[in-house]
Amino acid sequence: MEQSSKQFTGAEILIRCLHEENVEFVFGYPGGAVLNIYDAIFHQDKFKHILVRHEQAALHAADAYSRSTGKVGVALVTSGPGATNAVTGIATAYMDSIPMVIISGQVPTYAIGEDAFQECDTVGITRPCVKHNFLVKDVKDIAATMKKAFYVASSGRPGPVLVDIPKDITAHLCAFEYPETVQLRSYSPVTKGHLGQIKKALKLLAEAKRPMVYSGGGVVLGDASAHLIKLIQALDIPITSTLMGLGGFPASDKHFLGMLGMHGTYEANMAMQECDVLLAVGARFDDRVIGNTEHFLSNPRTIIHIDIDPSSISKRVKIDVPIVGDVKSVLADMNDLIAAEKPAQNTVALAAWFKQIKAWRGKNCLSFAQSTEFIKPQYVIQKLHEVTKGEAFVTSDVGQHQMWAAQYYPFDKPRRWINSGGLGTMGVGLPYAMGVQFAHPEAQVACVTGEGSIQMNIQELSTCLQYHLPIKVILLNNRYLGMVRQWQEFFYENRYSESYMESLPDFVKLAEAYGHVGMRIENPRDVDGALVEAFSPKLKDRFVFMNFLTDQKENVFPMIPGGKGLSVMILAENL
């Protein structure tokens, strides 16, 4: 009772809520509407505030902190431009279902609606790209709202939740009591899958002649990796993964066919098209994954879909056996059933299926012609994998380099591959690397990027200096907006409209200007040495910016042209 009678300001209450949620880092940028909150931060040391150079980077860093740890990422921005700058980061997290709580300052309640200085309708602007948002109108509501925000963000299908707090509310006084539980009559996500459906699914999988598993980001987000590995090993069936699911199943396992989709492997896409029973786990039949829906459905197959979000099921493709539930719980139930029932499988058909898959693998679709003249971007990634022993956290931006990183850096563990899959946000790579490095100070963190993307958040080199982040930037610099150039080459008769990056800065000098180590690598024979040096003990504590001047005309293969079917792949010219 004594504690509850003590009065705190709204700002102090907010900070205490973050303490109650065991928040380690708050990524943010101060401003007028959040001055009370920043003053309360000054008086505490339980979490560390990370000062970025642009609000967008605060959001991405908090997002990557979450992606690499599974915990809720927290960002703090001021009203008006602080909030609008955050929108790209919020939308990025929303598209990939990343649990985050974003606190935005708002003009005082009495000024709302009067076009006050730095006022914007933050709740209105962010509504379509958050899981939920709140405007706190009374200091007494702060604690309960924060509790709800963390609960909603991290339960069910996760996502970003924004809490908008007017400045006067952060100064008002009230007692503090953090609710122990939260109950929302309108929100109760299902976790347990329907056992009847699970049994039906298992029977279908066991009896299948050409079974296939397709796993997505839900496996990573749901920490279901171990259960998925167990299932695949028990049934001995092939598996592919989406861009977002990479690492959810070990890439080095013999059952793994590589990534599928627009730039997926030949074997993954063919098996996806030709299978007779498909199990989708925490994936959503995205347009970049199954290509043309009609073409995909032209080959009849029975589809089982496990997903925590009912609206993901039968959204783009009609599902035969839907299982709504937490992927981890459903996979655990499946594994228990297999152990108990030991279902008989069609081993003859399975052997023939693996023989067919082996033939597809024989295409060796990711092989590329080495060159002594130009640095091949694929080779840089392969070498990065070798030098980091496959143990690095790899963040990427968006474009060709992202696809090469996904194709040539095989991930064996979940939460190691950090990129923007849904929204495809250029500029995430560097702030993503920051968020990962804060969460894992001892880990090797590589940011694979392009000269287009890196310039979208290049100001964060300053943040990396301030916090001594030993990130290694792998810039695959082809002096083109590579993916745009590739599409222009294929579909616009080589009319390279505005896709050439002229007037690039001297990245070595730029890195050095920010107090970092810069390297320029032009010759293929220098690639190995440069990477070894960058990851050597000598530079272990340094931020290294590696500018690889790569082959300007290299394309990403295989490629399914937009709107075409999964088996309609363009392969590299040497195949």
Partner: protein, 163 residues
């Protein structure tokens, strides 16, 4: 196909825009939308008239359920239901029109709720089709103004939407 969806949601500012925003963001049709607080002031009840293929309607229901403020959703078309809409029509009521309007109003079981020198205001309740039929049966030149509430719906018998 036309569907009438009923839902209960938290009676909070912004809840309506979440629903309206969902329909525009995902390209779903809204024919009409009505909303008001229920006997429990913390809850609002909304009736949405929409149309789409079965797959689209299924997605609409799922997406509505996903909104945090939405407590319960019911597709009234899944069973028997009653639909009512209120319309106010101001019509010319001069000369021959005056008698004619009175007669039409009686035929459709409407009520004249305002009488002025040159006009009547008629109140009419019924299904959307009935209101349409009334409008069609009037001389276009006689209609001065119309306002409709959009449909409200409720399940028949023991089909009850309640928390």
């Amino acid at each position: 196909m036309r569907h009438i969806i009923s839902l209960l949601m938290e009676n909070e500012s912004g809840a309506l825009s979440r629903v309206a925003g969902l329909f525009s963001a995902r390209g779903y049709n809204i024919e009409s939308l009505t909303v008001a607080a229920t006997e429990d002031p913390t809850l609002s009840r909304m009736t949405i008239v929409t149309s789409g293929s079965e797959a689209v309607i299924e997605q609409i229901i799922k997406q509505l359920n996903k909104l945090i403020d939405v407590v319960k959703v019911l597709d009234l078309n899944d069973g028997k239901f009653i639909e009512r809409e209120l319309m106010l029509v101001k019509v010319k009521a001069t000369g021959a029109f005056r008698e004619e309007m009175k007669r039409m109003c009686d035929i459709f079981r409407g009520r004249i709720i305002d009488v002025a020198d040159g006009s009547f205001t008629i109140e009419l309740t019924g299904s959307g089709n009935k209101l349409d039929a009334f409008i069609e049966s009037l001389d276009k030149a006689a209609i001065l103004e119309t306002v409709r509430t959009g449909a409200s719906g409720i399940g028949r018998g023991d089909r009850i939407l309640k928390v």
